[in-house]
C-alpha cells in the first residue's frame, strides 16, 4: 500500500515542485544527478564509508531500562542518533548531499537551519569536502542556539541572521531560497529536512533511511521481533522519515510522529502542522500547512527551534492521509518534563526536539504490555539547549 519510490516527486496529492522558474532547471539537474549517483555503487560505498568512519555509524539501539522500569509498561529503546558526530541525525543527510555537491562540481553550499543542528552538520561536511558554506538562520534562533552559531563559525561557515518575518526557520528558508535564486549557477542548496520541492523530500529521506534500516535490523537482533511502536519527533520530518522508512512495509508496526504543541494546540501558539493544519503550498511543496483562512502562513511557536516550522514533509502528509502513520502534539511543558525524566533516569540529555518524542513515549509506555517494546528516535543531544533550559529553570524558580 505504501510505496517507497515516487513519480515526479509526488506522494499522492502531496509534494511537487512549486518554485520560481529560475530554480526549476537547477532542481532538474539535481534530480538527474541524484538519480545517477543513487544507482552508482561507488557513490553509495563512499557515502557508507563516511557514515561509518566519519559519523560513527551504526548508531546504538540502547535499552533504556531505568526509564522503562520507572514507567512500568513497554520497554523503551533509544536509537542513539545523538551519538553521531556533530550530535544529531542531521549529519547523515549532509554527508550524502555534500558528497553529491562535490560530485556535481559545486563549490559553494548554502543551507538553512533552525536549531542549528543542520547548520553545524553542513558546516562540518563543507570543511571536510573543502566547500564554502553560508548558513541562514532566524535571528530568534541565533539567539537561543548561540552555541551552535559559534560551532558553525569555528568550522569556517558564515552564519547569516534573518530578522524578517518571524525570524525563525521558515524565514531562514525564504532567505536561502532567495540566495539560491540569485546564485543558482554556482551554488548547491543543502536542504536540511525531508520537505521542500522535489527532489529534496526523496533525497533527504533516502540519506536518512540508514536510521530505520539499522533500527529494524537491531530490533531483530536484540529482541528477535519488530517493535510495537516507532516514535519520532516531527519538525520538517527528516528524522521521522529516516526511521519510519525502515518500517513502512511492516504494516503491523505503528509509526507515531510527534509535533510541537507549543503552548498547547487550543492556545493557538504551536507548530503542529499535521495535527492542526490544512493542505497548502509553502517552500516548493504541497503539504500540511499552518495557515489562516486567506492562505497566509501563520507564525509558529515551539520551545524547540528545530520543530518551529509551519509546514512538514510531503511524504509524512501522505502517510497521515493513508493512515499509515499517526501524528500527535506534545506541548513545551511536556517536552521539558520528558527531558528531565530522561536526564535523571538514564543520564542522557536529549535535544528539546527529541524530548517531544521522549514525552510521547512516557505517555504511551505505561498503557502497553511489558512484553512489548517501543523504539524512540533520539534524534539529537541537548547540549545546545542548556541556555533555553536555564531560562526555563529560572522561570520556575521565580
Amino acid at each position: 500500500m505504501v510505496t517507497k519510490t515516487t513519480t515526479a516527486g509526488r506522494f499522492g496529492s502531496f509534494g511537487g515542485s512549486y518554485v520560481p522558474e529560475t530554480l526549476k532547471p537547477a532542481l532538474e539537474e539535481l534530480a538527474q544527478a541524484y538519480e545517477h549517483f543513487s544507482q552508482d555503487p561507488a557513490f553509495q560505498e563512499e557515502f557508507v564509508t563516511y557514515l561509518n568512519e566519519y559519523a560513527g555509524r551504526p548508531s546504538l539501539l540502547y535499552y533504556a531500562k531505568r526509564l522503562s522500569d520507572r514507567l512500568g509498561g513497554a520497554k523503551i529503546y533509544l536509537k542513539r542518533e545523538d551519538l553521531n558526530h556533530t550530535g544529531s541525525h542531521k549529519i547523515n543527510n549532509v554527508l550524502g548531499q555534500a558528497l553529491l555537491a562535490h560530485k556535481m562540481g559545486k563549490k559553494r553550499v548554502i543551507a538553512e537551519t533552525g536549531a542549528g543542528q543542520h547548520g553545524v552538520a553542513t558546516a562540518t561536511a563543507c570543511a571536510l569536502f573543502g566547500l564554502s558554506c553560508e548558513v541562514y538562520m532566524g535571528a530568534e534562533d541565533v539567539e537561543r542556539q548561540a552555541l551552535n552559531v559559534l560551532r558553525m563559525e569555528l568550522l569556517g561557515a558564515k552564519v547569516i541572521a534573518v530578522s524578517k518575518g518571524t525570524a525563525t526557520l521558515k524565514d531562514a528558508i525564504n532567505e536561502a531560497l532567495r540566495d539560491w535564486v540569485t546564485n543558482v549557477e554556482n551554488t548547491y542548496y543543502c536542504f536540511g529536512t525531508a520537505a521542500g520541492p522535489h527532489p529534496y523530500p526523496s533525497i533527504v529521506r533516502d540519506f536518512q533511511s540508514i536510521i530505520g534500516k539499522e533500527a529494524r535490523e537491531q530490533s531483530l537482533t536484540i529482541e528477535g521481533r519488530l517493535p510495537s511502536a516507532v516514535i519520532a519527533c516531527v519538525g520538517g520530518g527528516s528524522n521521522a522519515m529516516g526511521i519510519f522508512s525502515g518500517f513502512l512495509e511492516d504494516e503491523e508496526v505503528p509509526l507515531i510522529g510527534v509535533e510541537a504543541g507549543g503552548d498547547g494546540i487550543d492556545q493557538g501558539r504551536h507548530a503542529a502542522s499535521l495535527v492542526a493544519g490544512k493542505p497548502g503550498v509553502l517552500h516548493g511543496a504541497r503539504s500540511y500547512l499552518l495557515q489562516d483562512e486567506h492562505g497566509q502562513v501563520l507564525s509558529t511557536h515551539s520551545i524547540a527551534a528545530g520543530l518551529d516550522y509551519p509546514s512538514v514533509g510531503p511524504q509524512l502528509a501522505y502517510l497521515k492521509e493513508q493512515g499509515r502513520a499517526t501524528f500527535v502534539a506534545i506541548n513545551d511543558r511536556e517536552a521539558l518534563d520528558g527531558f528531565a525524566m530522561l536526564a535523571s533516569t538514564e543520564g542522557i540529555l536529549p535535544a528539546l526536539e527529541s524530548s517531544h518524542a521522549v514525552a510521547q513515549a512516557i505517555k504511551m509506555a505505561p498503557t502497553m504490555r511489558q512484553d512489548q517494546f517501543i523504539i524512540l528516535n533520539l534524534s539529537g543531544r541537548g547540549d545546545k539547549d542548556v541556555h533555553t533550559l536555564a531560562e526555563e529553570v529560572g522561570k520556575d524558580a521565580r
Binding site: V19, V181, V184, G295, Q296
Partner: protein, 273 residues
C-alpha cells in the same frame, strides 16, 4: 456573460493595437493594499492616465520567496492593513466601474489554493481581472489552474528565466496565454544599477519558440534603461522602482500619488513613440 473584450482576449487586443502602431507596452507593478486599498485604487487610475497599458497588482503573501527587499516591505505593509485576495478582487470590481485598463494579478499559489481555484476562476472573471501571474507555479504544476481559467477566458501568464532550458521554453510557450513574462536576470525582484545581458538573450531565445508578446521585467529601475529594452521586448515591466516611490512618500498621500504617477509617466515617455 463575459465581455469579449476581457481576459486573454483583452490582453491580446492591447498588444495587437500597439503592434500595429509600432509601439511597446509599459506595465507597472504595485502591491495591492500598499499602504491601503483606497490608495491602490487611486494609483491604478492615475497610472492609467499616465499611460500604463497593463497594470500588475501584487496580492501580498506572507512568504514572498521570489521578491527582493522593496516588494517584501510593501507586502508587509499591505498585510498589516489586512489585504487579502478577496479584498483585492473587490477592489478590481470597483475599478471596473471606472476603467477598462487590463489588470493582471501577481501572487503566490497558496493564496489561490486557500481561496479555491474554481472560485477564483469564476469570481476573477466576474469582477474583471484579465490574467494572473503566479511566481511559484512552474509550467508542470499549472495545468489544474489553466484548465479552469481557459473556459472563463482568463490568462495564466507564465514566467521564463535566463536559466530555463530550450525544452522548458518550448513547453512554457505552448501553454502560455496573453503574454510571457521574461525574467531579465537570475535573482529576485528589485532595482539594479546595470542590467545583465541575460534578458536580451532570453528574449531572442523566446522569439524562436513563440509569437506571443514578450514582456521583460526584474531589475529595471530607470527611464534611461527603457529604450534599449523596448528595442527587443514588446513590453517593459517595472515593479520595485515604482514601489520604492510609494515607500518614500508614505507620510503624504498627495505626494505619494504625484511622485509615483510622475515616475510612471517618465517611463512611458521613454518608450519609443
Amino acid at each position: 456573460m463575459l465581455d469579449n473584450a476581457r481576459g486573454t482576449a483583452k490582453i491580446e487586443a492591447t498588444f495587437e493595437a500597439l503592434r500595429k502602431e509600432g509601439r511597446k507596452a509599459f506595465i507597472p507593478f504595485i502591491t495591492a493594499g500598499d499602504p491601503d486599498l483606497r490608495t491602490t485604487k487611486e494609483l491604478v487610475l492615475a497610472m492609467e492616465q499616465a499611460g500604463a497599458h497593463i497594470i500588475e497588482l501584487g496580492v501580498p503573501f506572507s512568504d514572498p520567496v521570489a521578491d527582493g527587499p522593496v516588494i517584501q516591505a510593501a507586502t508587509s505593509r499591505a498585510l498589516d492593513g489586512g489585504t487579502t485576495l478577496s479584498s483585492v478582487l473587490n477592489l478590481v470590481q470597483q475599478l471596473r466601474q471606472e476603467t477598462d485598463v487590463p489588470l493582471v494579478l501577481m501572487t503566490y499559489y497558496n493564496l489561490l489554493l486557500a481561496y479555491g481555484l474554481e472560485k477564483f476562476a469564476q469570481v476573477g472573471a466576474e469582477v474583471g481581472i484579465d490574467g494572473v501571474i503566479i511566481a511559484d507555479l512552474p509550467v508542470e504544476e499549472g495545468d489544474e489552474l489553466r484548465e479552469l481559467l481557459d473556459p472563463v477566458g482568463l490568462a495564466l501568464i507564465p514566467l521564463v528565466a535566463p536559466t530555463s532550458t530550450k525544452e522548458r521554453l518550448e513547453l512554457i510557450a505552448e501553454k502560455a496565454r496573453g503574454f510571457i513574462y521574461c525574467v531579465s536576470l537570475t535573482g529576485v525582484t528589485g532595482e539594479r544599477q546595470d542590467l545583465p545581458p541575460d534578458g536580451e538573450k532570453l528574449i531572442q531565445r523566446m522569439r524562436e519558440v513563440t509569437s506571443l508578446p514578450l514582456a521583460l521585467g526584474f531589475g529595471i529601475s530607470k527611464p534611461e534603461q527603457i529604450p534599449l529594452i523596448a528595442q527587443k521586448a514588446d513590453a517593459v515591466i517595472v515593479g520595485s522602482a515604482i514601489v520604492k516611490k510609494i515607500e518614500e512618500n508614505l507620510n503624504s498621500k498627495e505626494k505619494l500619488l504625484n511622485e509615483t504617477t510622475d515616475f510612471v509617466r517618465q517611463m512611458v515617455q521613454a518608450l519609443p513613440q
